[in-house]
């Protein structure tokens, strides 16, 4: 009966581990919530959410978070616009065209891209990407959303290409054979059969990459500047939510004032945004799953 007893013990230990994981979330929410509460006692929620000027460190102060959200969205949209098509092409190459040896050589090489510290990307953007953009568009500001979005795109590229490659590889070969047996070209097989069949996992990869782009801090701080503003252009300076949090929490402003509390409010919003995105992603994935099985 010893092994039966062990079974119960193991069960218990494992349960404790899960509780710890759960606790993390609770503490994050509690912490962000508590400090944000103090903030929202002084700044009305609607002013925070819908205000269009984010100048908590200027006189007169203004607490509309939208410029930060717009800045964040620019990075997210820009980086995914680069990483998704490139990543899918690479994944297709690796999974459908490349030889086994080529694949196992290129994949880890690409994964190095994801391991490079993000500070490095920041400097790469400033010293390489921005000058490149400025030769094309001379009006570009030295800090600009485009350059930051490009390096963030490069950073999340291996994530998308690796995960999509895995997704493509996981599809049964019989699917490809079925298509080729109808006389399809490799292009048709890849784009019309493989890609849609792997849609759920591609979607999951994109969600993961998106959250990585949202959470990216250092590269964006360096390359995109620190100018929160509402605009549509990619060639001007912006500030993202994460960059703002770092700026404030490492800056010289007093640590107990309303200025400092802003970073918890922004953090809470960031948390809520990733949460909503994940729920949407999850919903979308289970839905496609259901259709396919």
């Amino acid at each position: 009966m010893l092994s039966r007893w062990i079974d119960h013990a193991v069960h218990l230990v494992l349960l404790v581990c899960v509780v710890i994981t759960l606790l993390t979330t609770v503490v994050v929410v509690a912490l962000l919530g508590k400090e944000s509460f103090l903030f929202f006692q002084q700044v009305p929620l609607w002013e925070f959410l819908f205000g269009t000027r984010w100048e908590p460190l200027l006189e007169p102060k203004s607490f509309g978070v939208l410029p930060l959200v717009v800045g964040t969205l620019k990075i997210v949209i820009g980086s995914i616009a680069i990483a998704l098509p490139l990543g899918l092409l690479i994944a297709t190459y690796l999974s459908e065209f490349a030889s086994g040896r080529m694949r196992s050589a290129i994949k880890p090489v690409l994964e190095i891209l994801a391991g490079i510290p993000t500070v490095v990307y920041g400097y790469f953007a400033l010293t390489f990407v921005t000058p490149l953009i400025r030769t094309l568009f001379p009006d570009t500001q030295i800090f600009n959303a485009a350059s930051a979005a490009i390096v963030v795109g490069i950073m999340i590229l291996p994530m998308i290409s690796s995960l999509c490659d895995d997704a493509f590889q996981a599809l049964p070969n019989s699917l490809r054979e079925g298509a080729y047996a109808l006389g399809a070209t490799q292009y048709e097989v890849a784009v019309q059969v493989i890609l849609p069949s792997a849609a759920a996992r591609v979607g999951a990869a994109v969600i993961l990459a998106l959250s990585r782009a949202i959470g990216e801090t250092m590269a964006v701080t360096l390359a995109a500047g620190a100018t929160p503003q509402m605009s549509l252009g990619f060639l001007e300076s912006i500030q993202t939510m994460t960059a703002y949090i770092v700026q404030v929490s490492l800056g010289d402003i007093p640590a107990d004032g309303i200025e400092y509390l802003t970073c918890y409010a922004v953090g809470l919003l960031l948390f809520v945004m990733t949460l909503i995105m994940n729920i949407i992603g999850n919903h979308f994935i289970t839905k496609t799953h259901k259709l396919h099985s």
């Binding site: 100048e55 006189e59 400033l126 010293t127 500047g225 300076s237 800056g251 010289d252 402003i253 107990d256």
Partner: protein, 290 residues
């Protein structure tokens, strides 16, 4: 006898290079072998938070302590001493290709940087300057540099126009100014000194004085005004009861002169260092007696 123990320093990244240099020299002496000095960069505000909670012995500060922080200190019963350790001359710089600027007056700087400023081109500053678009560069709004600049030029700390290009990294500002023909920016003196070949510094004219450009001498003797600011360390006087902390402060004030210069800041005068050292000994003695 040999000292031993820990000296914990935290705070501004602006002051960090000086403190690092002091810590390095301090640690090289044989009698300090067993003293562990740690220096962090949580920012002046983050540093004060730890300092005022009694977690650190010394706080590097690129601005004077603020009222709310003073209140906190009183509440927590923390007694501290402010010690200026060097000057940072805020340098106003323009692009190398800018041939027209000879100097700027404080009033002109105010016109450019005041909240809601309408200055768009150089012509808007002085009518005989070209109709070249002006691009403004400055440090992030959370920084002590920004705080000081807005206070001296615009009369109120953190009051500034907001449509300028900001960055947390002064190196990046240097590149910005170097790359933009119509640019104007300000940042720490050290960054100007290291990049003299890339950018051009603008002399500043206060009142009826002659325009003065920032140099070691002009900052040191106070003639570069009003844009040179002191940077500080704050000492927890209770901590100073620990011999290793006391020794570290003494060492700091004795060697700050040469070390500050070495890392790109402008030292105070010998008399000033002596004055602060005396004040420290006095305040500390007073506390020790009570």
């Amino acid at each position: 006898k040999e000292l031993k123990g820990t000296v914990k320093v935290d705070g501004s990244s602006t002051v960090f290079p000086i403190t690092e240099a002091v810590a390095e020299e301090f640690g090289m002496l044989k009698e300090h072998r067993r003293v562990r000095v740690t220096v962090g960069v949580s920012g002046t505000g983050g540093g004060f938070k730890k300092f005022l909670a009694g977690e650190t012995d010394i706080n590097d500060a690129s601005r004077p302590i603020k009222q709310q922080e003073i209140n906190k200190a009183q509440k927590n019963g923390i007694q501290y001493l402010e010690l200026p350790v060097a000057y940072d001359g805020l340098s106003v710089v323009v692009n190398k290709a800018n041939t027209w600027v000879d100097y700027l007056t404080v009033a002109e700087l105010h016109k450019i940087w005041k909240p809601g400023s309408t200055v768009k081109t150089w012509k808007d500053i002085r009518p005989n300057w070209p109709d070249q678009k002006i691009q403004l560069y400055g440090p992030g709004t959370d920084s002590g540099t920004f705080d000081y600049f807005t206070e001296t030029i615009n009369g109120k700390s953190q009051a500034s126009r907001s449509d300028f290009t900001k960055s947390e990294d002064d190196n990046v500002l240097v590149n910005g100014v170097a790359g933009d023909k119509g640019s104007l920016g300000y940042f720490g003196f050290a960054y100007y000194v290291e990049n003299k070949d890339k950018i051009k510094v603008v002399p500043v004219k206060q009142g009826d004085n002659k325009p003065v450009a920032p140099t070691l001498t002009t900052i040191n003797n106070g003639s570069y005004a009003p844009l040179s600011r002191p940077i500080f360390i704050y000492v927890n006087l209770h901590s100073a009861k620990k011999p290793e902390v006391r020794e570290f402060i003494r060492f700091y004030l004795k060697h700050a002169k040469e070390l500050a210069k070495e890392v790109g800041y402008v030292p105070l005068t010998d008399q000033e260092y002596q004055k602060y050292l005396d004040q420290f000994e006095h305040d500390f003695l007073k506390l020790a007696e009570s």
